[in-house]
Symmetry: C2
Amino acid sequence: MLELAILGLLKEQELHGYELKKRLTETLGPLSSVSFGSLYPALNRLEAAGAVKAVEANEDPTTPIPMTGSLGGEAAAFRERARRAERPQRAGRSRKVYGITDKGQKLFDELLAAESSSADDDRAFNLRLAFARHLPPEARLGLLERRRAHLVERLAKARAAIRNRRERLDDYSRSLMEHGNEATERDISWLDRLIERERTNRAAPDTTTEAPSA
Amino acid sequence: MLELAILGLLKEQELHGYELKKRLTETLGPLSSVSFGSLYPALNRLEAAGAVKAVEANEDPTTPIPMTGSLGGEAAAFRERARRAERPQRAGRSRKVYGITDKGQKLFDELLAAESSSADDDRAFNLRLAFARHLPPEARLGLLERRRAHLVERLAKARAAIRNRRERLDDYSRSLMEHGNEATERDISWLDRLIERERTNRAAPDTTTEAPSA
DNA sequence: TACCGATATATCGCTTCGATACATCGGTAA
DNA sequence: TTACCGATGTATCGAAGCGATATATCGGTA
């Protein structure tokens, strides 16, 4: 779950933990937000698995400086001093910038393509949709359709639960349920639009979706 | 979190674990669903704390049989055999029915009234709203208003994050964000209606809230 | 000079989750 | 009749996530 998110962001550019967390909450929304207590252990797991590796620290993530030479040597210390003297405008502790490896790329594809619990788990679905552009069109369509089927079933169950309930429920619970069901209905309509768009694009591919992002 | 939900349901009637899980997913929605791996340890914690206690097993939770005599004696075994002979229609392993104690009632009130993380955590808010009828009117209004303020801030941050982003984002991520923001807007409108209703009821209490909806 | 707040990495304890094991009954079909 | 399946039910395990907290470094400011 978290691994997929990290790898997906590192695929686009090298990042350090703190920035990674910011992007996660921005990209995936405030729901499915991640704490440092999850993020740093996850980064360590990924590093131990060889999926990511630490590159040299640099303060401008948009123009990453590729790592030359070994880590932690006197040369690195020198560059660090030079960097601080050159651009002293950044405050705080030194960063640990991570980049994705070939192994990580493979792992990302596997995690993204895994069908298990991508329709029933809300966060897992949102995450996969956010990286859906890395998925082949058929898999994309399958993801959307499985999600739609799951939401339809969820809605049916929720309505059945209300009908089968003999005791009356109070105003607050009822309002909560009705609001939830309306949200699910809107989710389904939204998925319908996405599925429709997907089918149209599949009929006439390579016009918008796959435009090179530089 | 989970403790509050368990106590809230046990306040209404005595229940066993399996049924408790069903009610949780029904009442709180499929989100904030609970696994057995959380539920049973939570029940054990509550029992150890003296907030709930196991009562004698019975198969009809709507007309609970009060516990007489000690647990696990030969008399209990006899009654168990008699029960099975009398109403053998229920399948499955023997149940462990829990009831709330006075200490549990107090704990429930404390947990429900706790303001910390009831506005920023979605599940915590939903849970508290589901039991809002046990809250004094001012606390109820405060809960709704704090939640509204939080959602407004969340929406503002999400929009700011989109504006401040220099690289354009792909169709799927954009659709995900827009859909999420629309959902937040609707949540705010929904809260506005709840707040409005709350103020009306406070001006003229006890006319609609407590009327049987039958 | 001393403190505050932002940036940044890291860990601890606790809670939660998903998977699994185990147990008991009714129903069904070989 | 017996053998299996599925629903009901309690329980635990390992992994992962969370909130709180510790630690460190810098710029700004009182």
